[in-house]
Each structure stands twice: as structure tokens, then as C-alpha cells.
């Protein structure tokens, strides 16, 4: 196990890594920069740590085995990515995936080509005969609208006249008494009309 040689002489030495990482707290930057300008040991350490840090960051970022992921390819997210329609997490996923997946980079390139081709299609003018035909249709449509408007006007006037001078109708709750009287009259004429048989005590014939 490696042993760390702790330099007790420089309390600032421990800030060197944080300085390299841009992680100093407010107010510490001046202290470190001033100290590095004065201390040869800390300058030497600064350069050594800079090399180590750089070496650590050259470690290749390995690809995760596919079986560990639920769905390893973005698929339809690629088109949405081209159109800028992804949310943050989806965007991060697509970006990180494209970083290592050649197949998806190729698919993205093809989709982009297709999208560009579609968007570069010129806006065409309709042929002349279609223009003439369209004008005729427009004229006929206008004349039909005028006829319909006239019909609607006449109907509205007729309704108004009928409402003012037509027969009055009584409104209100449905009056059941006449219906009941009619029913009673019908029962008195035809006793078989009632579907519920009359009560007959036991032992008596109807």
C-alpha cells in the first residue's frame, strides 16, 4: 500500500488538487496562486498532480454491456432529437448513446438526410387547368351560399309570424287526470282490460 508523504510545511498544498479541478472555495484562489508563486515544492507538486489528473482522465470510458440495459438504442427518439423535441433526460440519453454507438450514428445521419431532402422539396404551383376549375368551384359555392341564406331568411320570418299570430299552446306540467278518466271509462266497458286479476278469497271461484 502506498504511503503518502505529508508535507507539514505547506498547509496550502492540499488545495492544489482543488485548484486543478476548479473547486476552490471563494477566497482561496488568491491564497493558492500567491503560494504557488513562492513555494518551489508546491509548484513541483502542482505539475506532478496535473500529470496524474490528466492521465486519469485518459482512461477510456468503457461501453456498458448491452444486456445490462433495458433498451440500448434510442430508436424513434432519434427523429425527435433531430427536431429538438426531446426532454432533458431523453436528450442526455441520446447524446451519451451516440457517443459510442456507430449504428445509431449512421441511422441518425440517414434520418437527417431524409429530413433534409423532404424539407428541401420545392413548393409547387398548381397546373393552370386546376386554377380555372378551382375558380369555377368557388363561384358555384358562393351562389349556393346566397340561395341558402335567402332560404334561411324566409324560414326565420315565417317562424316569427307563426309565433306572433299562430295558435297558442298551453305549457306546464302534464295533466294526467283526463288520461286517468279515459282509462277508467275503458275499464268499465271491458273488464278484461286490467292485466292484474282481481283478488279472490281462497275456495271461491272467480
Amino acid at each position: 500500500m502506498a504511503r503518502v508523504k505529508q508535507s507539514r510545511s505547506c498547509e496550502t498544498a492540499e488545495l492544489v488538487s482543488a485548484y486543478l479541478d476548479g473547486q476552490l472555495l471563494p477566497g482561496e484562489l488568491d491564497t493558492v496562486v500567491t503560494h504557488l508563486g513562492e513555494c518551489a515544492d508546491c509548484i513541483a507538486e502542482f505539475h506532478q498532480l496535473k500529470e496524474v489528473r490528466a492521465a486519469l482522465r485518459t482512461l477510456p470510458f468503457l461501453e456498458i454491456p448491452e444486456h445490462l440495459l433495458p433498451d440500448t438504442h434510442p430508436g424513434e427518439l432519434l427523429s425527435a432529437y433531430l427536431d429538438g423535441q426531446l426532454d432533458t433526460s431523453e436528450h442526455d440519453f441520446v447524446i451519451s448513446h451516440l457517443d459510442f454507438c456507430t449504428d445509431c450514428r449512421l441511422e441518425l445521419h440517414e434520418l437527417d438526410s431524409a429530413r433534409t431532402a423532404i424539407r428541401s422539396l420545392p413548393g409547387l404551383e398548381p397546373p393552370e387547368f386546376l386554377t380555372v376549375h378551382r375558380e369555377r368551384i368557388e363561384r358555384e359555392r358562393w351562389s349556393r351560399r346566397r340561395v341558402v341564406a335567402a332560404g334561411v331568411g324566409i324560414a326565420a320570418a315565417a317562424a316569427f309570424v307563426f309565433a306572433i299570430f299562430g295558435p297558442t299552446t298551453e305549457t306546464g306540467d302534464l295533466d294526467l287526470i283526463p288520461l286517468f278518466d279515459q282509462h277508467q271509462a275503458r275499464v268499465s266497458v271491458d273488464s278484461g282490460f286490467n292485466v292484474i286479476p282481481a283478488f279472490a278469497p281462497a275456495g271461491e271461484s272467480p
Binding site: 498544498a13 488545495l15 506532478q48 477510456p60 440500448t72 432533458t88 433526460s89
Partner: protein, 169 residues
């Protein structure tokens, strides 16, 4: 995750899976252990998402990852027949994927080998900083320690690495 909505575990796997795998690989030096750790982390994330309250997702996730790693180390200590590899050259001989072949360049071997010789506390801070790319504050949240502790461990870890690495500066 930059937004506040709670991600699904599939989101986590897609967005963070590769980072978790690299963190695990650099800490263990072993692709099988790294894969096991990723699976364990994703399992814990899946269980934990139901009780997760939107906030610092990265801190939450890396805390889970780190705890899963430490639990794995404790298990391995109880089973001394499968120790952590001391040198990734043996590991790379059994891992023929293109990325791992790429990782077998001499410098990477030396660095990986040196990383595995660091005490765990220092190793995890150095890997979270230089491999995963977390800030000191994020690391502090992940390991549940003050930023000052993180700063000290990263500095001392790098100094140890400098002494372990054989190439000239």
C-alpha cells in the same frame, strides 16, 4: 437528471448506466464485478424510486451506487476465495470486447493497477472526480462526508497514484 420529474429506472439505466459501469469497473478492475454492481444498483434504484422525492438525483443515485459497491466489498471480504484482482492484465485477458482491448494500452493498465492499490476511501473519491466527472459537492453528497474530506481524499489519492505510477513526469 436536470429536470425535477422522477425518472423511470429505464431512464436511469440509459442515462447513467454507462457511468455507473465505468465507476464500478475502475473501482473493482473486473468486468464481471462491474456488471454485477450495475445490476445491483439498477435494482436498488427500481425499488427506491417509489420513495424518491425529487431533489438532488445525482447525489441520491451515487449514494446508492457507492453503498452497493461497499456492500459488495463486505461480501467479498466474507468470501476470501474470490479476492479483488490486483492487476487488470489478467482481467483484460478474459474480456475481449473492443473497448476493453482499447483499455489494455500500457498506460491504462498502469493507472488501473495503481487505482486498485489505493485505499477504498481515496479510490472512490478519485474515480468519482476523474472518471465519472462529479464536482466535490456531488461527491460529498454521494459519500455523505464534508467537502473538505472529499478535497483531502482526492489530493492524497492523486499523490499516492503519483508514487505508484512508474512513468516519468
Amino acid at each position: 437528471m436536470a429536470d425535477d420529474r422522477t425518472p423511470t429506472w429505464e431512464d436511469v439505466a440509459r442515462v447513467y448506466g454507462r457511468k455507473i459501469y465505468n465507476f464500478a469497473y475502475r473501482l473493482t478492475g473486473n468486468p464481471d464485478d462491474a456488471a454485477d454492481l450495475v445490476q445491483e444498483v439498477l435494482l436498488r434504484v427500481r425499488k427506491g424510486l417509489s420513495s424518491y422525492t425529487p431533489g438532488s438525483f445525482d447525489g441520491w443515485l451515487w449514494r446508492i451506487t457507492r453503498n452497493a459497491f461497499l456492500d459488495g466489498v463486505r461480501k467479498q471480504k466474507r468470501r476470501p476465495t474470490s479476492p479483488l484482482p490486483e492487476d487488470d492484465r489478467n482481467v483484460l485477458a478474459t474480456s475481449p470486447s473492443p473497448d476493453e482491448v482499447l483499455a489494455s494500452v500500457r498506460l491504462s493498465e498502469d493507472i488501473q493497477s495503481a487505482l486498485l492499490k489505493l485505499p477504498l476511501d481515496f479510490r472512490e473519491c478519485v474515480v468519482l472526480c476523474d472518471v465519472v466527472g462529479l464536482t466535490y459537492e456531488e461527491i460529498a453528497e454521494a459519500i455523505e462526508s464534508p467537502v473538505g474530506t472529499v478535497r483531502s481524499r482526492i489530493h492524497r489519492g492523486r499523490k499516492m497514484l503519483r508514487e505508484l505510477l512508474t512513468w516519468p513526469v
